[in-house]
């Protein structure tokens, strides 16, 4: 998956995790927890959604790397690349 596809996937999953948020309005560099008031349940659901979409399992200790859209894309690109 290239970065564009990954970004699309991340935004789709984000939209599923928090249907109330307008993902077209997202600032890719800003912390999602502050931007959209996401909590630990949402971050876990994001990790589950990304796993289901890409097969990449993000360990708990790496959650802090997926709290922005850019962070998610980088993480997935890096992990997919190394596997």
């Amino acid at each position: 998956m290239d970065d564009g596809r990954l970004r699309e996937t991340v935004l789709r999953v984000l939209g599923e995790v928090a249907p109330e948020v307008d993902v077209s309005d997202v600032d890719p560099g800003e912390d999602l927890r502050e931007q959209f008031d996401l909590d630990s349940m949402d971050i876990l659901n994001l990790a589950i959604g990304l796993f289901q979409a890409t097969g990449v399992e993000i360990p708990e200790k790496d959650y802090r790397q997926i709290v922005t859209v850019d962070g998610c894309v980088d993480y997935l690109a890096r992990t997919a690349g190394s596997s």
């Binding site: 909590d39 630990s40 349940m41 990790a47 589950i48 796993f51 993000i58 360990p59 708990e60």
Partner: protein, 424 residues
Amino acid sequence: MAEFRMPALGADMEFGTLIAWHMAVGDHVAKGDVVAEVDTDKSVIDVETFTTGTVEELLVEVGTRVPVGTPLARIREDDSAPGSAPAAGGVAPVETAAAEAPPSPPASVGAGPPGQAHHRASPLARRHAKALGVDLADVTGTGPDGAVTTADVERHAAARDAADAVPAPSEESVAPSQTVVAPSPDLARGTPEAAAAPLSGADRQAALRRAVAASMARSKREIPHYYLSSDIDMSRAVGWLTEHNVSVPVTERLLPAVLLLKATALALRESPDLNGLWEGEAFHRSDAIHLGMAVALRGGGLVAPAIHDADTRSLPELMAALRDLVARARSGRLRSSEMSDPTVTVTSLGDQGVDAVLPVIYPPQVAIVGFGRIRDRAWAVDGLLGVRPVLTASLAADHRVTDGHIGALFLTALDRLLQRPEDL
């Protein structure tokens, strides 16, 4: 014949708008089935029936706004003998007719909720009555001035279930000319209103705010709160959780909140006077532990639906229940039993970064448990200073029901339980 009535989905609800029927005349429904959708202004709730039987008649059209307690449909119970219905039986006893008489049409301006206005009972007792399918007219009140209490309703339901028979004769002596005891003026007035256009997001927001305001103001006005807090060393719980979460697939990971919920439920078993409802000037302990989970809605506002029987569920079951409940709370798909059943509330503001919460009790409950964030703190053990993940647990409880001693025992039990996460 059982009446399916507009339920009170929270102590503050007075009206509801029927949005959709999920049953039609002739359908067979079972207890727990979602049979209607009701807009409480705050949100749309899937309403379950407490009756198993066949739908005889739908009394209210979709789009109609009616007071809580208004009969919406009639359901013929499976085990009710056909001959007992007045029409089929020919000579109907007066009592039965009174108990089963068709409700006055909702257009009767100035009347209370049909079938209820002449029976003194607290809103909670009414809710219990609805939940148990009991007609208040059938219940002998033992509360102040003969008012029907929750205990009366439960006693009546138990006797009825034991007899497995038609409802008992009505008690005409129950406060014949009195109006209801506690409900707000609007409820007593009980005039149905024409359907309004669906509420906008802003309207809903405002309604939700008003509801929170009303119940929190009532809480602060009526409940003498006392507050306790305790710092809990979470090293064992966090360590256990981390280990668990690396050993299972991402879909089976647990959140710290699940350990806190289970420990809270188990600790409440040891302090049962914190678990129950205050109504009719008395505390009614609940055997079941239904944890109301305070869920912040992203647009603002708060709901606290129940996780039923939290003390009996395994951690994975609680996690699944929590995930499901939070998702439905935020998408506005809660069920009526979740709205009306909580016996105590838990609020966790750790994700928002606060250290401790001094919460406000949600009436008619008598306690609320608060959790802050788990943060690293200097912690002395056996004279040695170390760094430990620490959580501040707090309790606000109703001084009419318990004293600080009971509250302290609860927090101590909570601490003890969290030191053995593998046993939760």
